[in-house]
């Protein structure tokens, strides 16, 4: 998967047609094989753009930054990224007419070892669901499957799970990198940081981490698109996807196969309801 040339062409064209103010893409880091997101404002810099299977980061994250706010933005989105874009559009965070979306029919991105990431192996929507222009041959939707890690962990007993997650919460350093790298966390001020609110757990204790991660995962329940920006950002390498994938699975199974950001206008699972929702867990 290498669309470097096509993306450069598109970016150059968009600049020459004066359709965009800034193009968000990837460039090489300059010191290793990895890539770093780049915001291109000058058509001269277009040749820095690259796109291949190391283009990992979900660029829709940049739509919440001041550099793109109110500007006409060109943007490269893979399948998962496009779903978060869909949700951002639904939640009125970006205006569609200010975006030029280069969708990718994604074949999966790889880590340092050249191994496809787990979420890419399990990807249900590899093709961008929002785009103005599509690169690659669409593969069609995959079948939703239960995450392997979830399956393994869910088979363990309560005591083991509690011990496992206690370790997760202990290892969280409350840097909030997960939140900042998440494209769906765009709040003006995160509830966890509002000193005036009683949710505020300023300390970096296990207790605070438990609270913050649980609340965060519930805020993303039904909205998480499994791009795993958070997990890749976590300096403690915490298995954050467990929380999100679990919620996703519960929601998928119970709430009419809801998956985030697939349909236009479909908000998170908590902002709608059905009379047929499960009721048997309530006395």
């Amino acid at each position: 998967m290498d669309y470097t040339n096509q993306i450069r062409e598109i970016a150059a064209r968009l600049f020459s047609e004066n359709k965009i103010d800034v193009f968000v893409g990837y460039r090489m880091t300059g010191f290793d094989e990895n890539q770093v997101p780049v915001l291109i404002r000058d058509p001269k810099e277009v040749p820095r753009l690259v796109f291949n299977d190391k283009s990992v980061f979900n660029l829709t994250n940049y739509l919440k930054h001041e550099h793109t706010r109110g500007k006409r933005v060109g943007l490269v989105v893979k399948g998962c990224d496009s779903r978060s874009l869909q949700l951002l559009l639904t939640e009125s965070q970006v205006k569609r007419d200010r975006l030029y979306v280069v969708g990718i029919a994604c074949e999966g991105v790889v880590d340092d070892a050249g191994q496809k990431y787990q979420n890419c192996q399990e990807c249900v929507f590899p093709d961008a669901v929002v785009f103005d222009e599509m690169l690659g041959t669409p593969k069609g939707n995959g079948q939703y499957q239960v995450n392997a890690d979830i399956r393994e962990l869910a088979s363990k007993d309560l005591v083991e799970r509690r011990a496992y997650f206690e370790e997760v919460f202990e290892n969280c350093i409350r840097c909030n990198a997960c939140r900042h790298s998440c494209p769906m966390c765009y709040c003006a001020k995160c509830c966890i940081d509002q000193e005036s609110s009683t949710l505020y757990n300023g300390a970096n204790t296990t207790s605070a981490a438990f609270h913050a991660l649980m609340t965060w995962s519930l805020h993303l329940a039904g909205r998480c698109v499994d791009c795993r920006n958070c997990e890749k950002a976590c300096p403690s390498h915490l298995p954050l996807h467990l929380l999100h994938k679990w919620n996703e699975q519960v929601i998928y199974e119970n709430f009419q196969e809801h998956l985030a950001g697939v349909h236009e206008g479909d908000r998170g699972a908590f902002y709608k309801y059905s009379l047929q929702d499960p009721d048997d867990f309530i006395m």
Binding site: V36, P37, Y62, H65, C175, E195, N201, N204, A233, S236
Partner: protein
């Protein structure tokens, strides 16, 4: 010159580590979720003092905890009673194994700020009662640039005991401070050869250092950086170099020298605890004042603050860079921003390449 060196081999080194762990409260790099962090260990098997790369987390939490309980209080009708927290006695001696140069060095940098103005006695106690045993790296990785900063890595006295894996297969253990010297006296070194002012040992250690120093990919002249950065406070370049930063704060949390903190209270019923916890200047509301004014409301200003604090302000006040070149921030950065790349290119060129 009066250099004492203990010579041993790999097995001897393991015996040495084991003896320390058995005898002292010991901290060493422990792997969890693929991340190395200093944790209290009870056996050599659970840790990795010779971990090839620097730990993901610095050793900073051992001196400046992620969340320190600074006091405990009860508040009822009879009044408010403040009590000391019961954790962290601070007085027992402890040993840290496997701290790299950069981490050890960072404590010397931090000492300056902790000894200035308000003297942080907790920090001082922790520093005083800790013996740092550090094995010199054999090879720099992609993001290391400690040799580019203004201290002599070879003759560093940041650690109490230096361990060098000699090119000749022997392991050299050298006390660097008085504390280290007295620590090594006694049972710990009985199985080793004790030499003084030994030419051969010095040569082997120098050879190892040269190989190590030669492995650095990143080299810069920090003086140019200091000077360059000090002149470009108003440069629009900051906006460009910071635009792909997602503002996640990770860099500050893993940084061995970042030392900003916030105070928070947690209260249940009538008992409360006051915490002092890490914070980061990259945080959008780090500088938000009670009246609502925020002098750094936009990302590039926060970013500029971080870069300039590391390489200009701290240097101006304390004579040292607030960066030890460990590369932890670059490794942790979700979008692979390299502080080295930014500061070494920013002052010189008009266009980022």
């Amino acid at each position: 010159m009066n250099t004492e060196i203990f010579v041993t081999d790999k097995a001897g080194l393991a015996t040495f580590y084991e003896a320390i762990i058995a005898k002292h409260e010991t901290y060493a790099p422990v792997e969890k979720f693929g991340k190395y962090e200093f944790k209290k260990v009870s056996a050599l098997s659970g840790c990795d003092p010779d971990a090839p790369i620097a730990t993901t987390m610095s050793a900073k939490p051992l001196f400046f905890p992620r969340s320190a309980k600074i006091m405990k209080y009860t508040a009822d009708a009879s009044g408010t009673k403040v009590s000391e927290t019961d954790e962290d006695p601070l007085s027992a001696q402890r040993v840290i194994l496997g701290m790299k140069h950069c981490d050890a060095r960072s404590l010397q940098v931090l000492d300056k700020v902790y000894n200035w103005d308000f003297i942080d006695t907790d920090y001082q106690k922790r520093r005083r009662n800790t013996v740092i045993i550090s094995a010199r790296c054999d090879k720099a990785d992609t993001h290391c640039f400690c040799t580019s900063l203004d201290y002599n890595v070879e003759r560093l006295d940041a650690m109490d005991v230096l361990i060098v894996n000699g090119a000749d297969g022997k392991v050299y253990i050298e006390p660097r401070t008085e504390k280290g010297k007295s620590f090594l006296e006694g049972d710990l070194t009985h199985h080793m050869t004790h030499v003084r002012d030994n030419e051969e040992a010095a040569k082997a250690m120098k050879k190892q250092y040269d190989a190590f120093a030669g492995s650095f990919r990143l080299n810069m002249d920090y003086k140019t950086v200091n000077e360059g950065l000090s002149k470009i406070f108003d440069s629009p370049q900051f906006e460009n170099v910071s635009d792909n930063c997602v503002g996640c704060n990770t860099c500050a949390f893993v940084c061995p020298t970042c030392h900003c903190f916030k105070i928070s209270d947690e209260k249940v019923k009538d008992t409360g605890v006051r915490y002092k916890s890490y914070d980061s200047c990259n945080n959008g509301y780090f500088t938000l004042m009670a009246g609502g004014h925020n002098p750094r409301p936009v990302k590039y200003r926060r970013w500029r603050q971080r870069a300039l604090h590391k390489f200009v302000y701290y240097k101006e006040r304390f004579g040292e860079n607030l960066c030890v070149g460990c590369g932890k921030c670059t490794r942790a950065c979700p979008v692979n921003i390299s502080i080295f790349e930014v500061v070494s290119t920013l002052p010189h060129i008009n266009n980022i390449q």
